[in-house]
Symmetry: C2
Amino acid sequence: MADIKSQANPLFLTEEEIRQGIELLFYAYRDFTSDPDEILAEYGFGRAHHRVLHFVNRNPGMTVSQLLAILRITKQSLARVLGALVEQGFIRQDQGSVDRRQRLLYLTESGEALERRVSAPQRDRVARAYGEAGAEAVAGYRKVLYGLIGPAERDSILKSIERR
Amino acid sequence: MADIKSQANPLFLTEEEIRQGIELLFYAYRDFTSDPDEILAEYGFGRAHHRVLHFVNRNPGMTVSQLLAILRITKQSLARVLGALVEQGFIRQDQGSVDRRQRLLYLTESGEALERRVSAPQRDRVARAYGEAGAEAVAGYRKVLYGLIGPAERDSILKSIERR
DNA sequence: GAAATAAGTCAACATGGCTGACATAAAATC
DNA sequence: GATTTTATGTCAGCCATGTTGACTTATTTC
């Protein structure tokens, strides 16, 4: 009997608990993304540009396809944003040496500076929340968020995190 | 000395750890919000409609101002979305009895049905992640997300959660 | 040599944010 | 009681960022 119960609902989860989890994610994401907006506006950029800066910084030399797969947007949507960043000298595109069809993405020096500046308030917010919550809570945070990611991508994200 | 260290960086947080926390939030939110989209499309609705359905369901009788404060969008942005939901009979607006300027928001029966249907995959995703991660991890998840919310709103959210 | 792939581009459209200006009704204040 | 403030609604237009569809070019793979 215990088996059946725990299989069906291992934590005796109420709808209330679930909905609170949903709301917390909404609120946290809302405030978390609001941080960089003012700085971005100075350059005429938006959140989409920030995302590109973040992921290219994290994965120097990544291909356009890889970036598209992470962002889950279309090539045409990315083109506008990426084009602006390249045009204004924040991102450099090198031809791949193995596969010369590829355009490998790198932040330029000014791109790195911009990324750091734009991300700073976001990093501070996360650092503060981590510090206040404690190491154990952080482990739980990571575990649950990881479980929220679609199963197909979970492994590759875990690998990309472990690789560092 | 230990005091100084722990004040500055209580968890010995590396930039890598912080950035992983940021990315996990991005990935989780990306997949978490993708769930309801297909169902919403049947009605010609989008994510904005879903948010309204969710919060009116959670706070029956809430005012337009309260909803605006939660969503952090302008009155004009909300008007489009809320207007469509009212027009199609998913949300009812009652005049406030204490303050008759207010329009108190309620889901109609079909609104409740729609909310349940649209939210179902999202709830399932959170329930699964909670179940897999375990009760302790969930507590940590909540603690960290709560810390990510802007301080001004933290208390009122805590209260609205405890009230249930 | 043909087919598949990586990337780019043009055009058109939808969603959901935004600002600014103004209107109405009701409540609160002087 | 007149005035001011508040809650809500509405018109008009703009912008950022997503979408689909069609087509091109260079390169790699078969």
